[in-house]
Symmetry: C2
Subunit: 231 residues, 2 copies
């Protein structure tokens, strides 16, 4: 992990441990370079990282301030780190329903911006938080980017594996949200009636070189899923 | 408008006009400084701006590439510029239902991080897109930040007024989403049945100096509202 990330993790941990309230003024850039014995450039990267995570805000000419997340149990719609990262503790669990391979049809090829016929991995999972189903996930990974995936990896955090084993970093993502009536299959997975509503989020993830590698359709349970966006 | 913003607007307009596909390689930083006759620093700010808008992505050591929004009629959940900015044309209209003042009760004071009793403006509006109701908005503005607001301003774009007349810039925002059954009042506003579902988004907007100035509850029609997030 790069130095600026380590420092960002440490500062975030301190803010949480000390339970610093929103608006608390932190050390300035010069003090931070001294505390961590790193260059100004590293500290600027650390601060950018903390800003992106919604942990601090900077006021020009005035300083660096603590920013707090106010509600617990909400899923971030911005952080691009897969399911497991959304919850602070280990209470997120996934159950694999289906793992396989297939060739991209026209719809999948258009979402993943690859030729029709490109080999894909297909993953279907149910996600639980504190024992309650909150999401049914149906994902497709382009095998030309994600060179290997298997059933036992799909039972854990796929994004952690992609990052650590295949060194695939998420560059950016597109997410599309709407409210839908669930199909019988989805109602069944989420223990809902067909007259209930689900939040559908379609996501396309791109590597840092701009290649689409994951297209997911996620269906969230209306009672067990809440979301936040810090921007 | 600062120079880097003007250049960002111009580049974005060019990409749209030329309908450049995703992944098209653009000029490099040096070429851009020459084209626009500005410093490297200005171009770096322009590129940051375009990246934040989801219009380009940069690949280290490789260049600057076009990023395209693929679906039309979706509302951005990240851009912090109020309702009117979400739609490319002028087909967004607001109808003012109620304008008034009140003193912050405990709930509102906690959302706006101000003392109980702080004077607030209250605004209720219905938002239409291409003639269809898509959102019922109930907003509160802290009068200690938003020093003046009236009925005729509330009939237009409040955020544009805040920005241009009061020079209040949005620094950051917190947004909380969930699915709810509408109250009778909200069902009525949105032409829904009480058994339908709405997407509720609660938002707190902070000025660039970190003061909360707007707390809004927005209820979106399930059939007429779709959202996207580029991150």
């Amino acid at each position: 992990m790069p130095k600026y990330m380590q420092i960002a993790d440490e500062i975030e941990r301190q803010i949480q441990t000390l339970n610093l309230p929103q608006g608390t003024k932190l050390s300035n850039i010069q003090e931070l370079t001294q505390t961590y014995q790193v260059s100004k450039n590293t500290i600027l990267k650390t601060l950018k990282q903390l800003e992106d995570r919604g942990v601090i805000y900077q006021v020009q000419g005035s300083g660096i301030f603590v920013r707090r997340k106010k509600r617990k149990g909400y899923i971030s719609l911005i952080q691009n780190q897969g399911f497991s990262s959304d919850f602070e503790d280990d209470s997120e669990k996934a159950r694999l329903l289906n793992f396989g391979t297939l060739s991209a049809n026209e719809h999948l090829a258009s979402q993943l911006q690859c030729p029709v016929g490109t080999p894909l991995y297909e993953v279907e999972r149910l996600h639980f938080f504190r024992g309650q189903i909150y999401c049914y996930e149906h994902s497709y990974f382009n095998q030309e980017v994600v060179s290997f995936l298997n059933q036992s990896i799909a039972e854990t955090s796929i994004f952690e594996y992609l990052n650590q084993a295949l060194h695939i970093q998420v560059g950016f993502s597109d997410k599309y949200l709407n409210i839908q009536s669930p199909s019988s299959e989805i109602a069944n997975h989420l223990n809902l009636k067909k007259t209930d509503s689900v939040l559908k989020i379609e996501e396309v993830y791109y590597s840092s070189s701009g290649k689409a590698f994951d297209y997911s359709k996620n269906y969230y349970h209306p009672d067990h899923a809440q979301f936040f966006i810090q921007s």
